[in-house]
């Protein structure tokens, strides 16, 4: 069992691969390897928490925090790439906005990583092959999808956080982040089409229902959408469902 779990996943940690991966990716692999080793050590006690269907987010509030951490990793990786390779015709104002958003998402990612400590999932591998980073609309429509998805994810996850003293702290923290994601979403939408900051569901890519409510999605629905951009398989089956 131990051999089976470590084979294939810890593989990238060797001299030959380091030259081909970025430092961040390398650290991610190390993190993955040590997480697997740690899990293997407690394998007998907690065998059903790890399986070969993907990276386990965990259960309870930790699971929800890892879920948020996964989404923030995706967003941060995207905006880091956007800042590294600006699209053709980008304006100074757009550069400023997108740099701010990158910093916000990196801050969110690092916050969850710090808050989760040893419970944090490793760095995820992203797949941005469908995005043309040189093209303004490709970048901005992806940004819109990520931001609207993030808003709906946090809106849907609030109720999954425990009704405990610690849970209330997490709920407030999630609230502090989701409104910033909504600000991002509104701005990106306005950059794509002025005035589309809160388009009705009846519009293309709309988000607001007739009761004036934003979207909310379950982790399963969110990960099904985000999965197109994440190579690492994620196992969300242990997350709370209510």
């Amino acid at each position: 069992m131990l051999t089976h779990k470590t084979s294939g996943k810890a593989m990238p940690v060797n001299e030959g691969n380091i030259q081909h991966v970025s430092r961040r990716k390398f650290l991610g692999y190390v993190g993955a390897a040590s997480a697997l080793l740690a899990t293997s050590a407690s394998c007998k006690k907690n065998d059903n928490n790890i399986n070969d269907t993907g990276q386990d987010l965990g259960s309870g509030d930790v699971g929800i925090l890892n879920y948020a951490y996964a989404l923030e990793q995706l967003e941060a990786a995207f905006y880091v790439k956007v800042a590294q390779s600006p699209y053709a015709g980008i304006t100074a104002q757009e550069t400023s906005y997108l740099t701010d958003i990158r910093d916000h998402e990196v801050a969110h990612r690092e916050f969850f990583k710090a808050a989760l400590g040893a419970d944090a999932i490793p760095a995820l591998e992203v797949n941005f092959s469908a995005i043309n980073f040189g093209d303004r609309m490709s970048v901005l429509t992806t940004a819109r999808a990520f931001e609207d998805l993030g808003v709906s994810a946090y809106n849907g996850a609030g109720k999954l956080i425990s009704n405990t003293t610690t849970g209330l702290v997490y709920l407030t923290l999630a609230g502090k982040i989701v409104s910033v994601e909504a600000r991002h979403a509104a701005l990106i939408r306005d950059l794509i089409a002025p005035g589309s900051f809160a388009d009705p569901l009846t519009a293309s890519n709309g988000v607001i229902n007739p009761m004036g409510l934003d979207l909310q999605r379950s982790p399963a629905d969110v990960l099904a959408i985000a999965g197109a951009y994440i190579s690492t398989k994620i196992n969300a089956s242990n997350l709370p469902t209510s």
Partner: protein, 289 residues
């Protein structure tokens, strides 16, 4: 006074409110009667702690929080209804700007209707406000002689209207954030409140974007505790931004976190901060007669 008014409204829903507040009804009323403008700043603190004592994570708490949210939504909806209909703004509020303000107005009207039905679904009575309950000059009086009167009226001055709208939205975002914990025991209500919360944040971002395009140095997000509202109105709106400057979250320092380059500005922008019910009621008090 708004605080008294809200207590009166709540009393209609919950006749026991004064008893729950652990004080005799008459003593409470005379307390509010006696506390004038000068003492107002201290009232919300007492008010907030009284509520905490009175209710604890039950349906009554949820109804109070929803009526509080409903009060804010009424203020916003009446504000935008007046703005969109203002003859004095027809020259300056045109095209995309008018369309956006109309969209926002319709969302706030929908939020009022939604919260009313949510409260009734809990077998409780929603508060009701009309335009005549609000003083959009911020003077706390039907006379309408507050700071936003005359040429500074939100119904005449486009720039001031946008600034006040931004402050209302930013405050609303902070209000829902602060109230979320009190709704945690009811999944449906909590989710709906979060769904309103992010819509308010979208509004705030768009209004800030409109102001930026009108030449004001603001971003769609809140940098430190900067309101972006010019003098002489900056001091009055500052309570809506105090506390936003924090760069520490759950004891984690966000500046340069994890070896990344994150400035204090970015660290503050990345997280919006909550306000308590008492803080928000003190902020909106001048607008509610």
């Amino acid at each position: 006074m708004n605080v008294q008014h809200i207590l009166n409204e709540i009393e209609k829903t919950d006749p026991e409110v004064y008893n729950k507040l652990d004080t005799r009804r008459d003593a409470m009323k005379s307390f509010f009667k006696a506390s004038g403008k000068v003492a107002l700043a201290t009232v919300p603190i007492a008010f907030g702690s009284m509520f905490k004592k009175a209710y604890g994570g039950n349906t009554a708490t949820i109804v109070e929080v929803l009526n509080y949210a409903l009060t804010l939504e009424y203020l916003e909806s009446e504000f935008y209804k007046a703005v969109v209909a203002a003859p004095g703004l027809t020259v300056s509020l045109t095209g995309a700007g008018r369309a956006a303000l109309t969209t926002i107005r319709d969302h706030e009207i929908a939020h009022v209707a939604f919260l009313r039905s949510a409260i009734m679904s809990l077998s409780a009575t929603p508060v009701t406000y009309t335009a005549s309950n609000f003083d959009l000059t911020g003077g706390n009086s039907a006379a309408g002689t507050g700071p936003f009167s005359g040429t500074n009226s939100v119904l005449l001055n486009y720039d001031i209207m946008l600034a006040v709208a931004q402050v209302f939205e930013d405050t609303g975002v902070r209000a829902y954030k602060g109230a979320a914990g009190d709704l945690n025991s009811n999944n449906d209500i909590l989710t709906a409140a979060l769904q309103i919360h992010s819509v308010e944040a979208r509004h705030a971002a768009h209004l800030r974007y409109m102001r930026k395009n009108a030449g004001v140095a603001v971003k769609p997000w809140i940098t430190l505790n900067q309101s972006g509202v010019p003098a002489p109105f900056d001091a009055a709106v500052q309570p809506s931004y105090n506390g936003e400057e924090t760069t520490t979250q759950a004891t984690v320092n966000i500046v340069n976190i994890g070896g990344q380059t994150i400035s204090a500005n970015a660290a503050s922008e990345a997280f919006d901060e909550p306000l308590t019910m008492a803080q928000v009621l003190a902020i909106v008090d001048p607008f509610i007669i």
